[in-house]
């Protein structure tokens, strides 16, 4: 418990936390407001422009906007979470702070797992805050686009939100675990972040040629696990193919999460700490 609380304290003061969260929120708000501000101007042109304007208005129309905002957060947030996880794990090696803890008799596996638990907690907090901001941005965007927000209080959608948020958190945490493990194996922040980003875009690229394989890969299953089947909206998730059923994808998310942490734990326990 001491380590978990300490981990949260460390992360809450860490610049990487604010930079990652700030980038996600900045992009989210910018895009939503831009969509809202330009939705009406797209309505006045030809058929194509009209369709784009209609799509933009639909994006900002509640209660569907709840799902679309969440999909965006989970899609782009997954990439950021992976980078964040890699930064945190890599710095333990780069800065040598893991070394100090091990020399104090701390269990390497316990240390790494509790560090990751802290990351998972921060992701949960970030996800909730980001979602609230996204909803506020969508309301403002809807106002700019002259779209009614009457669906804001749709009880059926609101009732499902906690479950959707929980699944979304689980998916994002899996992606964070992947970055965490890559950086642990690389024993470096930069190498971990670089390899994680390459993995993310590599998976997207590979989905063009190997869709049947890629649909089982971590980013694709994360997207599939939270997919409502109503389109991704603003999502910029790494997996273009999300063809697995959500329940099956959720199981694979769990397997990727546990598998990643298992690898990180075993590696941390066995590796010689030098430098």
């Amino acid at each position: 418990m001491r380590l978990f609380v300490s981990g949260i304290r460390k992360l809450s003061r860490r610049p990487a936390t604010f930079v990652t969260f700030g980038l996600l929120i900045g992009l989210l708000v910018l895009i939503v407001l831009a969509v809202g501000a330009t939705a009406n101007s797209n309505m006045g042109g030809g058929a194509g422009e009209g369709a784009r304007g209609a799509a933009a208005k639909e994006l900002l129309t509640f209660p569907g906007a709840y799902d679309r905002m969440l999909a965006f957060i989970i899609g782009l947030g997954g990439l950021f979470a992976m980078i964040y996880g890699a930064a945190i794990a890599g710095s333990e090696w780069s800065w040598g702070t893991l070394k100090s803890a091990v020399a104090r008799g701390e269990s390497r596996v316990r240390y790494m797992l509790l560090q990751f638990s802290s990351i998972a907690f921060m992701v949960a907090v970030g996800l909730v805050i980001a979602f609230v901001i996204a909803v506020v941005a969508a309301i403002v965007g809807a106002h700019l686009a002259n779209v009614s927000i009457s669906g804001l209080g749709d009880t059926a959608t609101l009732g499902h939100l906690p479950e959707r948020l929980l699944k979304g958190w689980f998916a994002v945490v899996e992606e964070a675990a992947l970055g965490f493990t890559i950086a642990t194996l690389a024993r470096s922040q930069l190498a971990g972040i670089g390899a994680g980003i390459a993995f993310y875009f590599g998976e997207s690229f590979a989905s063009i040629f190997l869709p049947d394989v890629v649909k089982y890969m971590p980013f694709s299953v994360a997207n599939a696990a939270v997919s409502t089947g109503s389109g991704q909206g603003l999502s910029s998730g790494g997996g273009a193919i999300a063809s697995l059923p959500a329940d099956q994808a959720l199981v694979l998310v769990a397997l990727w999460l546990v598998g990643s942490l298992f690898v990180a734990s075993i590696f941390s326990d066995r590796v010689e700490i030098a430098g």
């Binding site: 610049p15 710095s91 040598g96 701390e106 010689e272």
Partner: protein
Amino acid sequence: MSGTDGLAVATRGLRKRYGSRLALNGLDLSVPEGVVYGFLGPNGAGKTTTMRVLTGLIHSDGGTVELLGKSFKRGDRHRLFDVGALVESPTFYPYLSGRANLRALAASGAPVPSKRIEELLDLVGLGDRANDKVQGYSLGMKQRLGIAEALLSDPKLLLLDEPANGLDPAGIVAMRDTLKALAAGGKTVFISSHLLAEIQVMADVVGIIAGGKLVREGPLKELLSMEGVVKVRVRPNLTEAAIKTLAPLAKAEPLAETDRDEGWLSVHLAADRAEDVNQTLAGAGIYASGLESGTDLEMLFLELTGAQASGGEGAFVGLGALNGEQNGGASAGKGTAA
């Protein structure tokens, strides 16, 4: 493990290999409890590898380790709850303050009372800067914080790798006094260092390693008195006569012996007997053109590790060698010149 009673650290036949390089080659260390132990050796001798093994960062390929009288193997991490360590350079979260770093580290390993952190910050002289981010600290301040980290759990055994690194003279004196006080209080302080003069004034016992093996270990005073040397230079044509003349003097001391060293004769006996050497030579009609004596640690260190130092990792080429001379390098002599 037999014969390790009263030892804070005992290694027997410790071996560690990195690829083709043998870093530790059967190291046998015996560190008594309640002393300041100076752990010396040239670069690449195996000091840091030993520190890493003792702190569980790496595991040996063979041999045994005992910490505070108990076996220390893979999985025995709880032994380290009574050990404080500063291995290589101190490590911190740069974006956190000194105080927050100590709190973060205190969350791992043995529990630490919060007031202990404040005590340590004052002890290492960082009380006023405790809220500043570590990334703004000087090297010496980081070193002070590293020493505070090592002391967090009020350890019975303190393992410090180059603790004086970056400290200003006042800081070195303060650190020395602190470590000596800790040893006087019954704690064992194990210091790996290149600062031989510092070890000489601080250590009670020293261990010197070279090539991954212990080459000498014992109480510092005893080693220095036994390993003193008087060097005398005579004309080349008088060398043989001088050896014959000094032989009885050497025999008079069980540990004394003579040898040749680039025109100098080294007589291994207590350094305060330089006058006897000079008198004996003069009595035989041989007059020394140079006379040096020394009992310092540097002389002992160079003598014991000289072969490794000249070819070891990080060895410098003597100025003479750079100038194309056959016998470059510095004299190890210190003390009085006749």
